[in-house]
Amino acid sequence: MTDFTIVDARGLSCPQPVVLAKKALESNKKVKVIVDNETALENVKRLGMKLECDVRVQAKSGDLYEIQMTRRADFDKNQDFVSSCCETGAAKTGPFVIVVSENKMGRGNDELGAVLIKAFLHTVAGQAKKPDVMIFYNTGVTLTVQGSDVLEDLKQLESEGVQILVCGTCLNYFEIKDKLAAGVVSNMYDIVETMSNAGRLIVP
């Protein structure tokens, strides 16, 4: 199938695969998009339907999918197909922020809460859809210092471009500023600004 223009959208998150696919379809009749997650698959498929393409999906090994789209008619290039194709359309105006305000998740039982926050952060680190910024304050800051059970996960998130802001006042209060092992010391100005500009904000 050499006549397909190939768009390699592996490793990209929404709306990137949709943007690239649309761009390729503007100048080519036949486009093959390679994606590596189901969200991208669904979103690109939706784009294909909207643009009245003939859409065929082939599942490859792992989470890889090849989506073959054959355009049957022209479409209006200026119309915004992208945001309506992405599930996150409503929240794409600002960064995705996770606020960790405690060293536990949920209220009720602290021992259980400590387990849950570990599981939460581990799962976030393993997810395809990573937050843009994570904010730690109050007892949440104890998760970012030496000896924390989630350091490995936080460092991984950091290495993948997630910005980790750690409340300086809080580190100071607990006298653990010198033990900070993940993220950067931050202040209330940055914290408020990040929260105010967030497209989506999650507090576990």
């Binding site: 021992e111 387990v115 599981a119 581990h122 059970d149």
Partner: protein, 77 residues
């Protein structure tokens, strides 16, 4: 990346067993990590303990007769 490696996990009947095991392993200084049970094993919101296969026998010895272990599995990443 480290994701390529395979790990072993211990599954428990209940969260409280996992917590008990975690305490013991911490005390013994055996490296491990409490993680959510991978989705393909169970869809319950459970936790399990992950460790490097190299220290499997040490882990088993540490928990032997102290915590009920439901299952020991190798996870291919």
């Amino acid at each position: 990346m480290k994701e390529k490696k395979s790990y072993d996990v211990i599954l428990f009947k209940a969260v409280s067993y996992a917590l008990k095991a975690e305490k013991i392993l911490k005390k013994e200084g055996l490296p491990h990590k409490l993680i959510p049970v991978p989705k393909h094993i169970s869809s319950d919101c459970g936790v399990c303990i992950r460790f490097e296969p190299e220290i499997k026998s040490k882990i088993e010895a540490a928990l032997f007769n102290k915590v009920d272990v439901e299952e020991l599995r190798t996870l291919e990443n």
